[in-house]
């Protein structure tokens, strides 16, 4: 019988989770490792098989749907658990399962001597299941299920070393900030279903143009709410504060969740609902502006961070900004392309950083690294490839995808966005090579005892690095315009984004301008690199001199513009104090007071009555008589 095509992909990791729960420790470390990696590897194989099956179909028929079962049916609203494979989700599952598999293999080495080894892979597999459900969902509701599922797994994995209070705090922060985003997403979904009647993609996107007035308030609000959800998940302004703290989790987690897969869910959702966003140009503008702003803002903070993982975290936020910028300007294809290449080199950067930390026995501060090139040859080589890729130097992957985005921005007339993107590219190149130089080149500032048991990572960690390095190198080439038909990757995505869509708003540029654009972006990257080398390698004093010249700027960058502290003071503390007062004063004094008050009222009344019982027989006789008299008078009046 033909093996099921789609639902097997998320089912495999879920099966691994169930198996590991049932078998428990009897599995042992090797068993758990094999089970976990095997499951993800198998789902990668199935993903490839499904992608090939999709590619075999003619251009227009490129969409496979599999309905598992009817989930909910109430009145005229219904939603079912169904999976959709189209070029966009094909790319996503390949990236997710591919990079996921490599990271699983890497983790077996990285987490080798962690006591709760089994629990780690349990969470990792659960995450893979949730991410694959998110990507393969055929309606927004099921996507939301995956959406919150990955939120939960990131909460569990960030707080994996739960005995560390800071990790637990970071986990909670991540979940709550995500929840704020999900609040927006939920409301957006409700708006869409109320007007169009369904959340299933095809039905929703076909009904949308009639249900909504193009550019009207309803569609704009709905899409902005969806974008709010995306900013929560993909850590854009203003809901990005959780990602840097999420570095508390183990490094493979940062690589998988906070670089390659989960954070891209926001971009995927915006790309998936591109036809809705195109109905609301204002929202598109907002997406572009927020993307560009975040790209630049995060890049600036990245300059001044000393923790290797924090630098990479801000770099991720910045690169995500680029992806949203691409979507904002209408170049959804470029956004997804950058998403793919970013997954490769950012995952590599994180894993490389993990290997460095592993080697230096958990040392994460760049100021106590340096000169590791010789001692960690493989890590150094792969990290170098990734750093060049992210800087956007041809022929590496980063160049093609970033250039596509800048080209899209320029072509669609968003010159401001293009300029910001260019500036961001320079900064990116600078801080990435700053990291590279501080970590691998120059004098070794490694502490003494870390020095002598400095060792290269085991093969189980190196091989994934090597594979990712290759991908970072060739990943971009599928963007080369081999045949005339333009950009092969975008042509692959055309059935999803529609031919006009991606380039509809784009004015075809003359080849001369296109070459000029490419030159400019390459020069920008080189500028960043040269400046980084000069500042940190040739003339270390330059960095310090700069710091003295603008101390205020430096302090602001180091403290991340005090955004965290600001939000705490503006939101968290007042909320806490308000609810404290609400409880102590309002609930206990007023409401409860009123209830007890009624009780005291009756008690007071009865005390009053008691005064009449004086104990003197005389008074009782008196009342008796008074009663009789009153009675008499009453009859009298009759």
């Amino acid at each position: 019988m033909t093996l099921p095509l789609l639902w097997i992909i998320p089912a495999l990791p879920l099966g691994a989770v169930a198996l590991s729960l049932l078998l428990g420790d009897r599995l042992g470390r090797r068993g758990t490792a094999w089970l976990a990696c095997g499951a993800v590897g198998a789902s990668f194989a199935f993903a490839v098989r499904a992608a090939l099956a999709l590619a075999a179909r003619p251009e227009e028929g490129r969409s496979i749907t599999e309905v598992a079962y009817r989930w909910m049916q109430v009145g005229d609203f219904s939603a079912n658990v169904a999976f959709l494979l189209d070029p966009l989700s094909a790319v996503m599952i390949l990236v997710v399962t591919g990079v996921g598999f490599l990271i699983h293999v890497y983790s077996t080495g990285y987490m080798a001597h962690d006591p709760s080894f089994r629990r780690f892979f349990l969470y990792l597999n659960l995450f893979m299941f949730a991410m694959l459900t998110l990507v393969l969902a055929d309606n927004l509701l099921l996507l939301f299920v995956g959406w919150e599922g990955v939120g939960l797994c990131s909460y569990l994995l960030i707080g994996f070393w739960y005995t560390k209070p800071s990790a637990a705090e970071a986990g909670k922060k991540a979940f709550i900030v995500n929840r704020i985003g999900d609040f927006g997403f939920l409301l957006g979904m409700l708006a869409l279903v109320t007007w169009t009647g369904s959340l299933q993609y095809d039905a929703l996107f076909s009904a949308a143009p009639q249900a909504f007035v193009a550019g009207g308030i309803a569609i704009t609000v709905a899409t902005l709410l969806l974008f709010l959800g995306a900013t929560g998940k993909s850590a854009q302004i203003p809901l990005y504060t959780w990602l840097p703290d999420a570095m508390e989790g183990p490094t493979p987690v940062s690589a998988l969740i906070h670089a390659a897969t989960m954070v891209t869910a926001g971009v995927y959702m915006v790309a998936r609902c591109h036809s809705l966003f195109q109905l609301a140009p204002i929202s598109l503008e907002v997406v572009a502006v927020v993307g560009a702003a975040t790209a630049l803002f995060a890049a600036t903070i990245g300059l001044a961070q000393n923790d290797i993982k924090r630098v990479l975290a801000y770099s991720t936020i910045s690169q995500l900004g680029y992806m949203f910028m691409a979507c904002g300007v209408g170049a959804f294809g470029a956004g997804i392309f950058h998403l793919m290449t970013h997954a490769f080199f950012k995952a590599l950067l994180f894993l490389g950083a993990g290997s460095v930390i592993h080697a230096l026995s958990d040392e994460q501060d760049l100021r106590r690294m340096g000169g590791l090139a010789k001692k960690l040859p493989w890590t150094h080589a792969t990290m170098l490839v990734a750093t060049i890729a992210i800087a956007g130097i041809p022929p590496f992957a980063g160049f093609f995808s970033k250039d596509e985005i800048l080209h899209g921005a320029f072509a669609s007339g968003h010159y401001g966005v293009w300029a910001v993107g260019l500036l961001g590219a320079i900064l990116t190149a600078f801080y990435m090579f700053r990291l590279y130089v501080l970590a691998f080149r120059g004098g070794s500032r490694v502490s003494h005892e870390a020095e002598h048991h400095l060792h290269e990572s085991p093969p189980s960690m190196i091989v994934p690095l090597f594979v990712l390095a290759i991908l970072s190198l060739i990943g971009g080439w599928i963007g080369l315009p081999f045949q005339r038909g333009g950009h092969p990757f975008e042509r692959w995505l055309e059935p999803v984004f529609g031919a006009g869509g991606a380039h509809g708003t784009m004015r075809p540029l003359s080849p001369m301008i296109e070459w000029l654009l490419i030159e400019v972006s390459v020069v920008a990257a080189l500028l960043g690199i040269v400046f980084a080398f000069r500042a940190y390698l040739k003339d270390p004093s330059l960095a310090t001199r700069l710091r003295e010249r603008w101390p205020a700027v430096h302090r602001m960058l180091v403290h991340k513009y005090w955004v965290d502290e600001g939000l705490d003071a503006l939101v968290v503390m007042p909320l806490y104090r308000a609810s404290q007062r609400l409880w102590r004063f309002w609930d206990e004094k007023i409401v409860d007071g009123a209830v007890n008050g009624v009780g005291f009222l009756f008690e007071g009344f009865s005390v009053g009555l008691r005064l009449f019982q004086t104990g003197f027989v005389g008074t009782y006789a008196l009342f008796l008589t008074l009663g009789a008299v009153a009675l008499l008078l009453h009859f009298l009046r009759q």
């Binding site: 005389g618 008589t625 008299v629 008499l632 008078l633 009298l636």
Partner: protein, 163 residues
């Protein structure tokens, strides 16, 4: 002639009642009460309730008053001490209330509220049950008296006060 008798009895009755209430010495009050009861017996005679008059004299004047006198003597009561402002006030209030009551009663009568106007509710068949009822009541009275009286055998205050 009947009216004359009625007047005599009425006056003695009212006079004795007042003396019973006003006089400080309980013994004198008791004696005046006896006279009052006799006047009342006379009135009963006027109302052709001869048997009742006899019973009145025997039961009330004879038995109950004797009991009263016995208790008064037994407790060896002297004159009541009832002076001071508080009692004056009470007496004043008492009289005031009395006049008020009489006023309303007078108003009633002046309204010509015909006594016979009460609807003729059929009296419940008291028939022979009257006898049993009175006997039970008397029994209860005797038992109560015995129970309360019994207390005197034990030295006072050795156990909680008699009910």
């Amino acid at each position: 002639m009947m009216l004359l008798l009625f007047a005599v009895f009425a006056i003695t009755l009212v006079g004795c009642s007042l003396m019973v209430v006003l006089h400080r010495n309980p013994v004198t009050s008791a004696l005046f009460l006896v006279v009052a009861f006799c006047a009342l017996a006379g009135l009963y005679l006027l109302l052709q309730a001869e048997f009742l008059a006899m019973v009145q004299v025997i039961v009330y004047a004879g038995a109950i008053m004797v009991l009263f006198l016995f208790v008064i003597m037994y407790l060896n009561l002297k004159r009541d001490v009832e002076d001071g402002l508080q009692f004056a006030l009470r007496r004043g209030a008492g009289w005031l209330l009395g006049i008020l009551l009489l006023g309303t009663a007078a108003l009633f009568l002046s309204r010509g509220w015909a006594p016979g106007a009460t609807t003729e509710a059929s009296p419940p068949p008291i028939g022979n049950s009257a006898a049993e009822l009175t006997s039970i009541l008397l029994l209860v009275g005797i038992v109560g008296a015995v129970v309360i009286g019994r207390g005197r055998a034990k030295p006072p205050g050795s156990e909680e006060p008699a009910p």
